[in-house]
Symmetry: C2
Subunit: 141 residues, 2 copies
DNA sequence: CTCTTATTGCAAATCATTCGCATTTATATT
DNA sequence: AATATAAATGCGAATGATTTGCAATAAGAG
């Protein structure tokens, strides 16, 4: 999935291609395997000598999420975002040191469904998050 | 695990047994299979004709969490809490309607470890959350 | 029963995120 | 290419969840 694909997905959803959206997308692509906080994103923008208002960043994170272009996970007190690199159902293994994530498709849905049914529940969705330390971070500890 | 066990665990951690802590624990026991929001907890307290300051509730949720007496999950904008009913490693299946939770011990740790190792990560911990609708709620939809 | 220290309640602060609104800009349409 | 129009931006202010400082209170050790 390249830049133009992303742009046309946004257009298909009826969103305009603004300068600030392009800036955001650039950052997500550059940091494609990291989960970024809003602060990380803002720092990255500033590093490029630009500035986007926080409300613009938040509004566009929603836009990108609605367009299924990014993944969101909830950290203690805030959210982290990463560009989606697959359209398939997937989960993440995340480095507690640097936020670097590995995407994987393993998911024992059949087991989950049976746990749900056994308890009289209708199963709708699952969340798996694995945590650890990546190669770099585990050697720095 | 009964009231006295809980009280002595708190004492062992060096925490005092205050009236407000007992009130909180009572509520968690009464609602033992529900994930409660802070608002839920406060409503329940008021229902009993009492009142605890929000800061007291929050501080004591930390105390109970540090003592491994409750589980916390993160909802969209806030946190939910439930009394721990097992000391073993476990996960939850949660009703999106009413918050009723089922605790289960299924966890493919070996698979998780191998996903991590395959990617050069050291595996430290996992989170699985299943969502659905419980018996009652699915019939109300 | 007294002393010491943790805990409480209150008010104010903080932090992430959202919202209202006037201005600007992307883009569909002349 | 110029224009119209609705969406998007930036700003400042609001919100909502949670935290903190502090003086008053209460638990529990001795």
């Amino acid at each position: 999935m390249n830049l133009d694909d992303i742009y046309s997905i946004l257009s298909d959803y009826g969103y305009k291609l603004t300068r600030q959206r392009k800036v955001l997308i650039d950052i997500f692509i550059k940091k494609r395997d990291l989960f970024l906080s809003v602060e990380d994103i803002q720092n990255e923008i500033n590093k490029n000598g630009m500035n986007l208002d926080l409300s613009t960043i938040y509004r566009n994170l929603s836009v990108l999420e609605n367009s299924n272009l990014i993944c969101k996970i909830q950290k203690e007190n805030s959210n982290l975002y990463k560009i989606r690199t697959t359209k398939k159902h997937h989960h993440h293994l995340i480095c507690k040191g640097c936020g670097k994530a590995v995407t994987f498709e393993y998911c024992p849905t059949d087991v989950f469904t049976s746990i749900a049914e056994k308890n009289g529940y209708t199963f709708t969705d699952d969340k798996i998050e694995l945590y650890g330390y990546c190669n770099k971070c585990k050697n720095t500890l």
